[in-house]
Symmetry: C2
Subunit: 120 residues, 2 copies
DNA sequence: CCAATAGTTTAGCGAACGCTTAAGTATCAT
DNA sequence: ATGATACTTAAGCGTTCGCTAAACTATTGG
């Protein structure tokens, strides 16, 4: 049975970021373009596994690549990562404002040195 | 070879964000604390499924909850999300600086046309 | 040409996911 | 006390994930 849409951009980007190998690849690409072999080398995985990680990264839009000769050169694609960063930032702006106002209504107001804010 | 330690904070946070239901729960919690039932209601999933999503969110540190009576009240926990946001931002600062000098295409041209044996 | 290099694709496996149902527990209302 | 509420836990099911091995397709260098 098909459940909720799990192929939207944000799903793919966060899924891509959820793996330490793929994050490592992104960090590597942050220092400049690299071949598939370059991306695989620091990790104890086969080239095949690296190709599959790359497929996830490309599907998410975080990385794009082009094949020149027998070498596939990969580079980072800013847009997708910015989408993810902005989703988090948008939520943060929401709850930071909230927590700022309701800070001392919560349970831990008793233990700490409590300074009074504007009227609750 | 780099170690592939799974279940590190960043893995858990990005994994938590990779599901649309969990992101929806985070958005809901951004508007204020909510019970497990409140979190489940918009999504047409069982309460049991909601509890399991909540477990993922709590394991990642994005949400924390406390039980008062028979109601578990959930609220957002800023630290974990900030960690994720900052990881992305740190990478961005890297490749944005790099993309400013568009020297990568030039580097390709050099390696192709240049056959000197000056310094290796 | 031949062999090495660089990557691709497919099949399969064990583990993790997301979900449901079903059977619990604890608290609140009457 | 009895029933309703609000979870909680366990079991099971089908799907997806990350990986390897193996067979395959280009390119490149001598």
């Amino acid at each position: 049975m098909l459940s909720v849409a799990r192929n939207e951009p944000l799903d793919l980007v966060f899924q891509a970021l959820a793996d330490p190998v793929r994050r490592g690849m992104i960090e590597r690409l942050g220092r400049g373009p690299a071949s598939v072999s370059d991306l695989a080398r620091p990790f104890a995985i086969s080239l095949s596994a690296a190709v599959q990680h790359l497929a996830v990264l490309e599907a998410s839009g975080v990385v794009r690549s082009r094949k020149e000769g027998r070498v596939r050169t990969c580079r980072i694609e800013p847009k997708a990562l910015r989408l993810a960063e902005r989703w988090i930032a948008d939520r943060r702006s929401g709850w930071e404002r909230r927590l700022d106002r309701l800070g001392d209504v919560l349970g831990e107001a008793v233990s700490k040195g409590k300074r009074r804010r504007t009227t609750p």
